[in-house]
């Protein structure tokens, strides 16, 4: 203990943090080799420290997943210290002189705000055993404000249980909500096509699962707003039917009027009651709408004749549909009212200069539209501010296509060939930070789910 104290005081002296007064018995057991203040790089983002504490397989797993989720939110500067998980919450103030870390969140804890500030933290998160053996408590601290921001109960017992990861992801989203006011996207999943089979994967890259049955060539998947259902195209001999698939049950049924011709790129209206989709056949390629709730009323929204109209995406208020049309000779992004009236160019382009633009997807907050546009022969991901219609290019390395929005409206997943093979990458459009999500053989046509909040969803 003396050694720790001496070392700690030396380190703290180096940091020269004013107002950092530690009683002797409240000094945390900083391990040898910790270099406080060296690995922390101050940035624009608030610092986040995931605290250590009692160690079990369960607690270690929860902390690791939580830490990764918070990192992937791109909202924080994650504070990484060698031996960092030995930084614990503090010691119980009620124990007086008794040394040792607090291992129960039910204790009357002393939170060592001064130390966390010294480490660069603005927020810290503790994962500790809760009131009974089946419950953990995830507590969020506002370090600068020296207050507790939230306490999220987490009922998990077995890290190998199927529902474990999703439960921790939901807790991570609540941590984010407690810290920033908005939940993240940790409890969400992506669909994509690999060699004709529909797959899904968690937003952190775990739990890769095949979704479509063997022998079906799947294409253009989309989520229902509830996250409990999805739709995809089952291709056979040049025709494609839309298949509704129950995520929990695996049940499938064909959307009635799509049993014939080639139907694809389905998108749900925000209320989940109707879908818009592309139909190709004798009459060309046009956008249609169908009321699923009433199982009726197929409406043709565009009449192409000499042009193709495809890839519809609803605005979050359900009043508009953006789509692709090549009515000027090459595909560009258009917008119309949900009844097909008022069709006009949406994303501006210079005739003869701007390349083909495809695959639009409206952001969850309605403020932006993501799409890809050919630049020097390669597709690149763009976003457009839907009010000012100012377009911004997000990518430039390799081929980058088919963007899809995360439920937080700040991350975009897309297919990139920058490493040689088509994989899903995720970009934080505020910082430009990218990470590779998949390492599969081949990935195409990603579709990001809404937040999966229902406990009944596996």
């Amino acid at each position: 203990m003396t050694r720790y104290l001496t070392r700690s005081f030396v380190l703290l002296g180096l940091l020269a943090v004013p107002g950092l007064a530690l009683a002797q018995d409240t000094v945390p057991p900083v391990e040898q080799g910790v270099r406080i203040g060296i690995t922390y790089t101050p940035g624009m983002r608030p610092g986040m420290l995931v605290l250590g504490g009692a160690r079990t397989a369960l607690l270690d797993s929860v902390r690791a997943i939580l830490r990764r989720d918070l990192d992937y939110s791109d909202q924080f500067e994650m504070i990484t210290l060698p031996g960092g998980d030995s930084i614990v919450l503090g010691v119980s103030a009620t124990r007086g002189g008794a040394a040792g870390p607090v291992v129960s969140a039910t204790d009357d804890v002393f939170v060592n705000y001064s130390l966390y500030i010294a480490l660069g933290a603005d927020f810290s998160v503790a994962v500790l055993p809760g009131r009974d053996s089946s419950e953990l408590a995830v507590t969020v601290y506002d370090v600068r404000g020296e207050t507790q921001r939230g306490r999220i109960p987490l009922t998990v017992t077995d890290p190998s249980a199927p529902a474990f990861r999703l439960a921790v992801h939901r807790a991570a989203d609540e941590v984010l909500r407690a810290a920033t006011g908005e939940p993240g996207f940790a409890a969400s999943r992506l669909l994509f096509i690999q060699h004709g089979t529909l797959h899904r994967i968690d937003a952190d890259g775990a739990a890769l699962t095949a979704v479509s049955p063997a022998g079906v060539t799947a294409f253009s998947p989309a989520w229902h707003p509830s996250g409990a259902q999805l739709v995809y195209t089952a291709l056979a001999s040049g025709w494609g039917r839309l298949v509704m698939h129950g995520v929990g049950t695996g049940s499938e049924r064909t959307v009635r009027p799509t049993a014939e011709l080639l139907n694809y790129t389905a998108a749900f209206a925000p209320d989940g009651e109707s879908i818009a989709f592309t139909r190709s056949g004798e009459g060309g390629t046009d956008v249609y709408r169908y009321n699923l709730a009433r199982d009726c009323c197929l409406e043709r929204l565009t009449v192409g004749r000499f042009s193709d109209n495809l890839s519809p995406t609803f605005s979050p208020d359900g009043r508009q549909i953006a789509f692709v049309s090549n009515r000027v000779g090459l595909p560009q992004i258009y917008v119309m009212s949900v009844d097909g009236t008022g069709q006009e160019l949406f994303a501006p382009f210079d005739y003869g200069v701007t390349g083909s633009s495809n695959a639009p997807e409206w952001s969850p907050d309605g403020m932006q539209l993501a799409f890809h546009r050919d630049v020097a022969g390669s597709p690149q991901v763009f976003v457009m501010d839907t009010r000012s219609r100012v377009v911004r290019q997000l990518t430039s390395a390799g081929r980058n296509e088919d963007p899809t929005w995360a439920p937080d409206g700040r991350h975009v997943a897309f297919i990139s060939s920058r490493t040689g093979r088509r994989q899903i990458w995720v970009m934080d459009i505020e910082t430009g930070r990218v990470r590779q999500l998949t390492t599969v053989g081949d990935a195409r046509l990603p579709a990001w789910s809404p937040r999966i909040s229902e406990p009944t969803q596996p």
């Binding site: 294409f219 291709l235 040049g238 080639l262 193709d308 495809n358 088919d402």
Partner: protein, 207 residues
């Protein structure tokens, strides 16, 4: 039958003569005309042969007809296969285009047109395909446009609309999985398949 009877009678008389021995009245041996018998046998044999020859000739004729029919069927099947092969040849397209290129591709379509004209029951489907470079979703529409282009070419020349269906597989079914100019050029295509009336096809005149 008469001949056989005479022979039996003669032999019977000889036996009787032998059994009676000496001292008995002389028995007059019946005259056996062995030449007539041989002649009879030969005629019978000839008749039998004639019958057999007749049967063999009939069988040979039957076999010849059977062979001819088999040969005709084989020739018809070969012609059908040849016509099917001509029909299934693909036409290709330029990048991001769906217009029919004059030259080889119009020659191919001309051949298909003649086949459709010569086989009025024949119905076909045209499936458009794309290379991997365009947008995946847009390629579905582009494939359909390519199929419609070929259909339009044929219906403009008198083929009934209902005999041709159109489909698209976008970039989902490449014939060459490579990522180079040759592969892309091969993958930008219309494929032609038979949907009905294709069991026995005739070759158009002049082919």
């Amino acid at each position: 039958m008469k001949f056989k009877f005479a022979l039996t009678l003669g032999l019977g008389a000889m036996v009787v003569a032998a059994a009676c021995g000496g001292g008995q009245p002389e028995v007059v041996m019946p005259t056996v005309d062995s030449a007539a018998i041989r002649d009879s046998i030969a005629r019978a044999e000839a008749a039998r042969r004639a019958r057999e020859d007749s049967i063999a000739r009939a069988r040979a004729e039957e076999e010849r007809i059977r062979r001819e029919r088999a040969e005709a069927a084989r020739r018809a099947a070969a012609i059908t296969a040849e016509v099917r092969s001509m029909l299934s040849s693909v036409i290709n397209f330029d990048f991001d285009r769906s217009d029919i290129r004059p030259g080889r591709d119009t020659d191919m379509l001309q051949q298909k047109l003649a086949i459709l004209q010569a086989n009025s029951a024949l119905r076909i489907e045209i499936t458009g395909h794309c290379d991997e470079r365009g947008s995946d979703e847009y390629n579905m529409a582009l494939g359909m446009r390519r199929a419609l282009s070929a259909k339009q070419w044929l219906t403009d020349r008198g083929i009934a609309d209902g005999r041709i269906t159109v489909r698209s597989m976008g970039e989902e079914m490449p014939v060459d999985p490579g990522s180079n100019e040759d592969a892309w050029a091969a993958n930008r295509r219309d494929a032609f398949g038979i949907t009905g009336g294709g069991d026995a096809l005739v070759k158009p005149a002049g082919m």
